[in-house]
Symmetry: C2
């Protein structure tokens, strides 16, 4: 057991930030293409900047208000005489929590804003590169995406480490063993921002997509991304604010909250190690951060040296190569970290095998789970397998059977999801418990820490996954820019290929986000119980040894938690509908009142649509956001700390399953449409049923239905499940009376 | 406390059977109308008889196999020396359980078959009565429906009471306090039959509906129920086998399983009462059956004397009047039962209020909950309120927005559902705990019994609700018969009005079934824990005091339980799609190969479609059925008895919520279409958007999508949640190692 690797945390974090800056400079220095391309890109950029500015202003105000409330409430509950976390008496816990909240919120906003700033500048450069070379276009898009990826993970790592070190240094009462409980506010701040960023962005992007498609493609009969459609710029802006800023905030939150949760669990082992007199017991607390640092380094190597290939290669291969490099280097990093930080000569787990080996295997379980999810998602959403083909076949008998078939596929995807998550949890828990770490009461704490290590293992590749994800909106936009500026056919062909790859990477990221949220659920939940028991212990009360579903209060709270996922999704989906309605009305008005749009003699007023969408999306994000924040607080206040734990766990299960249904169902519908467009569907006589057939029209209906499922409600549910976990963690003292 | 009311159980049961026979004779003696009507009705009847005969043969074979397996497995686990239920050592528990299973399965099948036999004979008589008078038509349909209602509830009551008395009399070892544990097999048998009856019937009815609509209305352009469509008879047969036989089996199962569960909980109080030396402690065990007997008597009065009204009255009013009479008489019956059976002079609960008053109030909570659900369902599925209007408005922009809007509505309905169930559980638990009944260990047992009494209160009106439900398919069929036989316009107008009312009553019944399943979940779950603890106690092990969600095995089992609802629904929905496909192929073939169908010179081969649908539906019901049966057994064997409890509870929560979404979403889509057809939707210029507009076409897509949701997957989920409860109850000894 050694602290020898602690220095890696700031070093890897800073290295990632510097590398992101280098990538940003590299991308920005590239050719922006002809003036026509630059004009479109400028319009998109202005729209995105305007939305993000207004959105983040709103979020900042909400976060400020929330910070004040949190600070005051916690200060009131935690009177200095009866501080609830052992040894923290006398420290200004309310203020510390509120400050950590603000830092978490600030870091999340910063990484979102900077990432998106680069992303809206990468699109045109990708389009320009596509005029010359496929590989160059892949590089530009991937490097632009990697800026987001690195900043998100590095800021989360540096933020957690920084505030931990700051509090530990400045306040006597805050020690290595108590700090994780105070910095939980950081995770709450991150989830708070993530919720509104994902909701606002998700509503914007899909309302713009659905709204402009309905009025353009369906009513006016003009193609997608046609410059005559006043909603088309809003649609392109939406890709950036939803897929890029939204998912970035989502994964910022994952890495932050899961780091802190794992550190809280590490405190239990720190206590065991201290009592046993092992050297450097705090290594157990820093372990999650060091693992994350190795993940960053692995990703830097992959992005710097392995995003290259032949012009005739499938671009997905190029990205996959980088992913495998990241994964393999992560395995090495995991081995080094567990060996250096967990090896205690003379202490072994079951069968005489060293402690670190057991935890190394837990980490491998996490990495394997992430690979499994990549394949599950591909199976259910790619055109080469049964599910998508089934939906395409069902489109022959019209939109109703298309929808029924897609629903069945979405529901079906929960099966392998639940079994994989279950297997990963059971395996990592069993492996962890073999390490033989027992606390003073004789209870095994290694099992739960094993699940935390699995989560850490899975999250090592986050920066790379996020880079691939942001690759999606960049190439999507590049395609839009090329179409809009009427670029050469060769460039269009390349951007189309990249766009298809981007759709796949976006789907994979969602699968990854779901899997990590599920593994993290158990971790955060265990951290909550640890915190509750510290508080109960300090108050001289019996610990919470069980969250008893047979208790009527817990059961009712679990019921309400399970319902929350549906209700929240209902609000999010309805918000898309309402916002889309405003867009439809405005685009229709422009077609009617601005003569000459249809024959290209007049330019539609794109900015007005962008502005209307911005205002509507921001207005509509408030209700679902507040419901998500208020629900755990109300349940906790009314039904108590044990019931809120039931709310949290069953709410997470329900949220994860519903998100799986919405993401995969939506992805499968999307690709069923593409399957038909690519001429894969045939009638009984063997004739191809392609575009402009009834089957294609039916598939378009499914695709449109899937839009708010997979890009608004589904991803927002990822954030929801983590938000309810961080809220309950921070506000635990409130629920104990 | 007194046994003075026990005699009511067989008397009310027999009275209900006799009354059902009287009603059946009355209905059968009525005018069958002109020959044309009789011909259609005969064809429907033959098709229904053929399906039911084959379906029940299949189910009977499956049940027989299951009974043998259960008997052998339990005999092996429960060796005579170490019988797991106290004092049962020496009794042939395996054989007793298997026999009870067969009796439960047999009673369920009998009530389904007899009820449907009357229902398929009531349709033509209702159509004939509609040629003369609205009130007479309502009476015929309601009396036909009441035959099912009374038989289902009476056979369940007599079955449970009969087998209880039989075992108690024949076997020394079986006493009043042990019998409830042995007769659990009855409930399992009932759920086993219910699952396959509902699945097979649900798949049949919706496959026939969707299949014949798609090929007739959409492809051939002929109206619904048109005699030229070869699938139309299968569609009419489907109403009977799905809505009538299926829902009957569902509620047979509810009343049986919930009676037995409540009796098991009553054993705890029986023990307290015995120790305290109160007279007739067994009254606590018989209480659920006596309450049910009063419910039957209340329903007899309502059906016999209150189904009457004026010719110009809204038929829904007539039915509502009967419902209120049943409810009010039930309140009286509840007061009598609690006062006579629970009053123990000298013993009072909190605030000096007698024990019986507290439990009376619990029963009132149940009755109120059922009324609340009736109104919730109406709000979400009737055209006069916001949700349905919103879906209709969304249809203006096409099928995609119709689907998105309907999904949002379906999701939203979980909110009030969860809050109402939660409130009912908390209220009845609190009221019950005020009775102050503590067991030897000092734990309150009144709270859980309070939730059981609430369930009993809610289920008092089951026979009436079921009569209203069966009213649905009878009037639906009457409409089809009238259309098919080209009856007078006046008769058509009356059957149309009754059909609309029938749609409402069918929706209400589903809301009622959901609410009772949710309340019962907690009851059955508590019964499971009681049984597990008896077994553990007998084996000299520590009792299960908690189902700890923080245990990784319990959490994983809960995750899998929550997933089961989705996976099962996916299989059920896909089964409808596959069966519908066979129908489409066959009807298309007939249009092609039998010339003269379209100009009425040739008759399509209806019987062949009926036969194909029958075979396909029976084949497709097997996979989801086996998944439902196997899942709890596998989880229990792999993860143990505590984990399976988590599986059960969270599986129930998830199943109830998903069923709510599917039932209400489907109902709302259906009525949005009707809202448009009735000319309520207008465009911006105030023109009516009715039939044959794009908005109507969009609404038809929503209606079709909703069909398998609300009539196959949703209702099958009701059965699923009760099935997993009865399986775990019966097989509990298997999971304890």
């Amino acid at each position: 057991m050694s602290n020898a690797l602690h220095w890696l945390i700031p070093v890897a974090g800073l290295a990632a930030v510097l590398f992101a800056l280098y990538l940003a400079r590299d991308v920005l220095s590239r050719d922006k293409g002809p003036q026509a391309m630059q004009d479109v890109a400028d319009t998109i950029r202005e729209g995105a900047d305007a939305f993000v500015k207004r959105q983040y202003t709103t979020i900042a105000l909400l976060a400020l208000a929330a910070a004040v409330i949190i600070g005051v409430v916690i200060a009131l509950v935690e009177s200095p005489d009866v501080a609830d976390v052992r040894d923290l008496a006398g420290a200004p816990i309310g203020a510390l929590t509120a400050f950590a909240f603000l830092v978490g919120a600030g870091c999340s906003m910063a990484s979102g804003i900077i990432g998106m700033t680069i992303s809206v500048r990468s699109n045109v450069r990708t389009a320009a590169a596509a005029r010359r070379s496929l590989v160059e276009a892949v590089q530009v898009a991937m490097r632009g995406g990697a800026v987001s990826g690195f900043l998100v993970v590095a800021l989360s790592l540096l933020g957690v480490w920084g505030i931990f070190t700051l509090y530990d240094t400045l306040f006597d009462k805050v020690t290595v063993a108590t700090a994780p409980f105070v910095i939980v506010g950081f995770g709450f701040g991150a989830s708070f921002v993530a919720l509104f960023a994902q909701l606002g962005g998700g509503i914007y992007t899909k309302a713009a997509d659905v709204g402009s498609d309905l009025v353009g493609k369906v009513e006016a009969g003009i193609p997608e991304d046609d410059p005559r459609n006043a909603g088309v710029i809003a649609d392109l802006v939406g890709d950036n604010v939803g897929d890029c800023a939204g998912r970035g905030a989502d994964l910022f939150e994952s890495t932050a909250a899961e780091n802190i949760g794992a550190m809280i669990l590490g405190v239990s082992i720190y206590t065991i190690a201290s009592l046993a007199g092992w050297p450097n017991p705090e290594a157990w607390i820093f372990f999650p951060l060091v693992v994350r640092a190795f993940g960053l380094l692995a990703t830097i190597v992959a992005v710097a040296f392995f995003i290259r290939g032949r012009e005739d290669e499938d671009p997905m291969n190029i990205l996959n190569r980088g992913y495998w490099v990241t994964t393999i280097l992560s395995v090495v990093g995991l081995a080094v970290t567990t060996f250096v930080m967990m090896d205690t000569p003379g202490t072994t787990g079951a069968s005489g095998i060293p402690v670190w080996v057991w935890f190394f295997l837990c980490g491998i379980v996490g990495l394997v789970t992430s690979v499994v999810f990549v394949y599950i998602t591909q199976y259910y959403t790619a055109g080469s397998f049964r599910p998508v083909r089934e939906i395409a076949e069902a489109s022959k008998t019209g939109p109703a059977t298309n929808i029924i078939s897609g629903t069945a596929v979405g529901f079906e995807t929960t099966f392998v999801t639940a079994l994989s998550i279950g297997a990963a949890l059971l395996a990592s828990h069993w492996l962890g418990s073999q390490a033989g770490l027992k606390n003073a009461a004789g209870n095994d704490v290694g099992g739960i820490f094993g699940t935390a290590v699995a989560t850490m293992g899975m999250l090592m590749t986050t920066a790379y996954i996020l880079a691939m994800d942001t690759f999606g909106p960049i190439t999507d936009n590049a395609g839009g820019v090329a179409e809009f500026s009427r670029a050469e056919a060769g460039a269009r062909e390349i951007t189309d290929r990249l766009d298809a790859v981007g759709n796949t990477t976006k789907a994979l990221t969602k699968g990854y986000a779901i899997a990590s949220a599920s593994l993290a659920a158990f971790l955060l939940f265990s951290a909550y119980i640890d915190k509750v028991n510290l508080i109960l212990g300090n108050r001289g009360e019996a610990p919470l040894t069980s969250v008893n579903l047979a208790d009527v209060g817990v059961f009712v709270a679990a019921f309400i938690g399970a319902m929350l996922a549906y209700f929240f999704s209902s609000l999010a989906i309805r918000a898309v509908g309402k916002t889309a309605q405003s867009i439809i009305v405005e685009v229709r008005r422009q077609f009617r009142e601005i003569p000459g749009i249809m024959d290209y003699t007049a330019r539609p007023d794109y900015a007005r649509v962008v502005d209307i969408t911005t205002r509507a999306a921001l207005r509509e994000m408030v209700a679902p956001g507040l419901v998500a924040v208020a629900a755990p607080i109300i349940v906790g206040l009314l039904l108590g700390y044990q019931a809120v734990a039931g709310f949290l766990m069953v709410g997470t299960i329900s949220g994860v399953l519903l998100a799986t249904v919405l993401n995969n169902g939506g992805g499968a519908w999307d690709n069923a449409k593409k399957y038909i467009e690519s001429g894969n569907l045939k009638d009984d006589q063997g004739n191809v049923l392609g575009k402009k057939t009834d089957a294609h029209a039916a598939a378009v209906v499914g695709d449109t239905v899937g839009d708010p499922y997979k890009d608004t409600a589904g991803p927002s549910l990822h954030v929801l499940v983590k938000l309810i976990a961080t809220i309950t963690l921070v506000l635990a003292p409130l629920f104990i009376r």
